[in-house]
C-alpha cells in the first residue's frame, strides 16, 4: 500500500491526459509518472532521511511527493514564508534531507545534504528515460510529515502513513471519476494538508490540475477563464478576496461560466461571504469540508444540496446549516465528549473525537490516539439532531469566566453582523476576579464609527452579560496565517504583552 500506486494507475489508465498545467506548461500523466520514477532514483542514490521542499506550488511538488513515496522516504514540505529563524529549527528535525528550494541561503550545506533548485530538479527528472522501478508496499511506512502551523505554540510534526492517505483517497474519490475536460484550480500552498490531498485526489480522479503558485484574486479569476477551470478549493480568506474583486468589477463574473464547483475549508467561513457567493453563483456546487492535518484532510462535508436547501429556507434551523461543516464521511465515526470523556447528546457542545482508517493522530514525538483508536481533535463543537456538525473553535481557545465556558465563536458571530464591524476576534485574558474575562480586537469598516460603550451594549443586547468584553482594542487588521487561520496567540499578547 503506497500512494505512488495512484500515479501508476492514472498513467496506466490515461497516459495522455493532462495532469498538470503550470505557467502555461502542460504535463501529461505519463510525463508525471516518468518524472516521479526518475526522482525516486535520485532520492535513493542521495541516501537522505527526508525529502523536503521549501517553495511555491510547481511541478516539483507532485513529483517530489510521489518520488519520495517510491523511494520510501518521508516527504516534508515546509512553509516558504517562514523566516530563517523559524526554518532552521525545522531543518534540524529532518537532518539530512534532499532539499528542493529556490532559497540560496540555506544554513545546511554539509556533505549529507543535497540542495537543489526546483527548476533544475524538474529539468533533471523530465529528461530521464522511463526507468523500471519497484517500491515497498508497507502500509505503515511514513508518506508525509507536515509541520502544523503552530497557532498555539511550537510547530508539531504530524505524521501521515501510507495507510492513512490511501484510506482517505479510496474512501472519498472515485478512480478516474473526472472527465477529460475538467480542470481543478489549486491555489492552496503545498505545505498544507489541503495541498497534499489536492494532489492525491486529483491524481486518483485523473483530473487536470492547474496550479496557481501564489494566490491573488485577479490571477485566480484570470486562470479560471483562461484554463476553463471547472472546480477549485479555497480557504475562506481567498473566497472573501475574490468576492471583493467581483463586487468592484461586475463583468468579471461572466468569465466564470466554466466553473461547476467550489470546495472550501481550512478555517471559519464568514456567513455573509458564503451567502453572497451562493447568490452570485447559483449554478456552482459549494462544498464545505472540515478536517485536520492529523486526519489526512476531510472528515466532514456540507454538500451542495445542503447549501442550496439552507440558502432557500425560511426556517432558521435549516438556514443555520450554512454555518455547519456538515456530516461525517461514511468511513469516519465522530463523537462529542465532555471534559470527563463522557459522550454528549445532540445539541451539547464539547470536544470533537474522531476515529477511522484515515486518522493518524500522531506526531514525530508521540501519538495522541487513544487505545481504541479515537483521536481527540482539540476542536470543540456540537452535533444537531440531524447529525450536522457545528464548530465553535479550538478547545484551547475556550474562554472560562467564573467557571462558565464560552467559545470565542459565539461572541464573534454576533459582532460580525454589526454594520460597522469588518472583523473581530474574542480572546480570554487573565482576571483576578473571574479567572478569565473577554477581550475583543475589532476592525472597523472604512468610515465607520462606533464607541467601545456601543460595542458593549450591543453584546449585552444579544448575549448573556458574561460575554460583555472587559477590554476592546481597535486595530486595522487581525493576524491570520497564510491559510486564513486566526492567530489568537498574537491577539492575546496585545492585551498581555509580557505573558506571551
Amino acid at each position: 500500500m503506497n500512494i505512488a500506486l495512484f500515479l501508476q494507475m492514472a498513467a496506466e489508465a490515461c497516459p495522455n491526459r493532462s495532469a498538470l498545467t503550470h505557467n502555461g506548461n502542460h504535463y501529461s500523466y505519463a510525463h508525471l509518472y516518468v518524472a516521479a520514477k526518475n526522482a525516486a532514483n535520485k532520492f535513493s542514490r542521495a541516501r537522505c532521511r527526508y525529502i523536503s521542499l521549501i517553495g511555491e506550488s510547481s511541478p516539483a511538488v507532485p513529483i517530489a511527493l510521489m518520488g519520495a513515496a517510491m523511494a520510501g522516504v518521508p516527504y516534508v514540505p515546509i512553509n516558504y514564508r517562514l523566516s530563517e529563524e523559524q526554518i532552521v529549527p525545522l531543518l534540524e528535525r529532518i537532518d539530512p534531507a534532499y532539499l528542493i528550494t529556490e532559497k540560496t541561503q540555506v544554513p545546511y550545506s554539509n556533505d549529507n545534504w543535497v540542495i537543489q533548485n526546483p527548476n533544475d530538479f524538474i529539468t533533471d527528472v523530465m529528461k530521464g528515460n522511463d526507468p523500471e522501478i519497484s517500491w515497498h508496499e508497507d502500509p505503515s511506512a511514513i508518506a508525509v510529515q507536515l509541520f502544523t502551523s503552530g497557532t498555539t505554540g511550537d510547530p508539531k510534526a504530524a505524521i501521515l502513513r501510507h495507510e492513512h492517505l490511501v484510506s482517505y483517497i479510496l474512501g472519498s474519490v472515485e478512480f478516474m471519476g473526472a472527465l477529460e475536460e475538467e480542470a481543478s484550480l489549486v491555489s492552496v500552498p503545498p505545505y498544507h494538508i489541503a495541498g497534499i490531498s489536492a494532489i492525491l485526489s486529483s491524481i486518483y480522479a485523473c483530473r487536470h490540475v492547474v496550479q496557481l503558485p501564489s494566490f491573488d484574486p485577479i490571477e485566480w479569476l484570470n486562470l479560471c477563464s483562461q484554463e476553463r477551470v471547472t472546480s477549485a478549493f479555497l480557504v475562506p480568506t481567498m473566497l472573501t478576496r475574490i468576492m471583493e474583486i467581483l463586487d468592484k468589477q461586475e463583468n468579471e463574473a461572466a468569465n466564470l461560466t466554466s466553473l461547476e464547483s467550489i470546495a472550501y475549508g481550512g478555517g471559519k467561513m464568514p456567513l455573509p461571504i458564503i451567502e453572497q457567493a451562493l447568490r452570485r453563483f447559483p449554478n456552482v456546487n459549494f462544498t464545505n469540508a472540515y478536517g485536520l492535518t492529523e486526519t489526512s484532510s476531510t472528515i466532514t462535508l456540507l454538500d451542495p444540496q445542503d447549501h442550496r436547501k439552507a440558502i432557500a429556507s425560511n426556517d432558521d434551523k435549516i438556514r443555520a446549516r450554512l454555518g455547519s461543516v456538515g456530516k461525517t464521511l461514511p468511513s469516519i465515526e465522530l463523537e462529542i465528549r465532555d471534559e470527563e470523556g463522557k459522550q454528549l447528546e445532540a445539541g451539547e457542545a464539547g470536544e470533537i473525537y474522531v476515529r477511522g482508517p484515515q486518522v493518524s493522530g500522531e506526531y514525530d514525538s508521540h501519538s495522541v490516539l487513544e487505545n481504541d483508536g479515537w483521536f481527540p481533535t482539540r476542536d470543540s463543537g456540537y452535533l444537531d439532531q440531524y447529525g450536522f456538525l457545528y464548530l465553535s473553535g479550538r478547545a484551547d481557545d475556550v474562554i472560562v469566566r467564573g467557571g462558565e465556558n464560552m467559545s470565542p465563536g459565539e461572541i464573534e458571530d454576533v459582532l460580525h453582523l454589526h454594520p460597522a464591524i469588518q472583523d473581530v476576534a474574542a480572546v480570554g485574558i487573565p482576571s483576578e476576579e473571574w479567572g478569565q474575562v473577554v477581550a475583543l480586537a475589532v476592525v472597523l469598516l472604512e468610515d465607520a464609527e462606533i464607541t467601545k460603550e456601543e460595542i458593549c451594549s450591543y453584546v449585552r443586547e444579544h448575549l448573556r452579560s458574561s460575554r460583555v468584553p472587559e477590554l476592546i482594542h481597535f486595530t486595522r487588521e487581525l493576524p491570520y496565517n497564510d491559510t486564513g487561520k486566526l492567530l489568537r496567540r498574537i491577539i492575546s499578547e496585545w492585551f498581555n504583552p509580557k505573558s506571551g
Partner: protein, 96 residues
C-alpha cells in the same frame, strides 16, 4: 494470510490487484488460477473470464474480502471459488 497492501498478479491476463482487507489463506484466483506476487503463465478457466477493471473494488457478499483492481485484465477475481463483485461506493462531492 494475505495482508493489506499486498499486490498480486494474474497468471492468465494483465490483471493486478491490491489487497485492501486482510484475508485468511490465499484462495484468490483470476481466471481460475491462483494470484501471486510473481507470476508464470497459467491456463485460464474460460468460465471465469468476464474481466476486471482498473479502479474498481471487488468484494464478497458480506464485504469481509476486499481488493482493488490496479490493472485491468480479461480474467475475473474469485475467492474460495465464489466470484467477487464490484463494490458500489457512495459518490462524494470533491472536497479537495
Amino acid at each position: 494470510m494475505l495482508k493489506p497492501g499486498l499486490r498480486l498478479k494474474s497468471a492468465v491476463c494483465d490483471a493486478e490487484i491490491m489487497v485492501i482487507k486482510a484475508m485468511k489463506g490465499n484462495d484468490l484466483t483470476c481466471g481460475g488460477v491462483t494470484m501471486a506476487e510473481q507470476q508464470e503463465q497459467g491456463e485460464a478457466n474460460q468460465e471465469q473470464m468476464h474481466g476486471c477493471l482498473i479502479g474498481k473494488r471487488y468484494v464478497n457478499e458480506n464485504e469481509t474480502i476486499e481488493v482493488l483492481c490496479v490493472k485491468s485484465g480479461a480474467g475475473s477475481i474469485y475467492y474460495n471459488g465464489v466470484e467477487l463483485m464490484t463494490k458500489d461506493t457512495k459518490k462524494l462531492p470533491s472536497s479537495d
